[in-house]
Symmetry: C2
């Protein structure tokens, strides 16, 4: 259900006494359809086709709002720009394997890594807000070429 994102989006707007707007709603709806990871520019290119006059600043503002409201999470994947994706719908966290040759991103989840991550934080009396494991290397397809 996409409704978890919707609740987060609506609540955030309500709780911060923001006003609604057609363009922000359009961006939100569009992002919900996206599978996988994307950049601000990706969305800007796509939405520009539908809504001719939209400015990139609005995309930046909306994506920032969606991160603040918990709808999206941001990563850098070692690059110096933001990559976004829909926040985990379930409670299960996932990590990423990034192919440095073709850019493919493979998601995975590992319970052992997960529990050890929490364990090590506890040892250091560290409160976890978020965590990410990134593996860079060659995917199976690229190895063959």
């Amino acid at each position: 259900m996409a409704s978890q994102s919707k609740v987060r989006y609506d609540s955030y707007i309500q709780e911060n006494q923001l006003k609604s707007s057609k363009r922000r709603d359009l961006i939100f709806e569009h992002i919900l359809q996206i599978q996988g990871h994307f950049t601000v520019d990706n969305i800007y290119q796509e939405i520009s086709k539908i809504d001719r006059g939209i400015g990139i600043a609005t995309i930046y503002r909306t994506v920032k709002l969606l991160v603040a409201s918990g709808v999206l999470t941001e990563q850098t994947f070692g690059e110096k720009k933001g990559w976004f994706e829909i926040a985990d719908q379930k409670l299960e966290h996932h990590d990423h394997m990034i192919c440095t040759s073709c850019g493919k991103i493979i998601e995975f989840h590992n319970k052992v890594i997960e529990s050890n991550t929490y364990q090590i934080a506890k040892t250091h009396r560290f409160i976890i807000y978020s965590h990410k494991l990134e593996i860079f290397g060659l995917c199976n397809t690229c190895q063959k070429q």
Copy 2:
């Protein structure tokens, strides 16, 4: 021993038929003294005090060379700029816990996480070049405030 870095530095220069230079050597020697993580600007500020006329472009170039030669590794720590540190001298990889309040970086190593990382890559027939686990949150000191 700092000699592992020295070997890497010298070999890289030799193998790429580069010329030696006083300023590059100065930056290299200076970086070897640094404990922990730093940015290009950190080094630029410090070296400027010793060598008045050095340009920031030379720092960028040298740091890039040091990464290419394996003396340094680069991370982003979720920010959109590069953070550097001396590459692991031992074979043991380490990860980072970053306090989002004070910026403190705690290093740690966990064998179970490590082996599971390699295991999951194997499952996906993925060849690992590098990997990094970052934990963001509140350090013990900041929790008390």
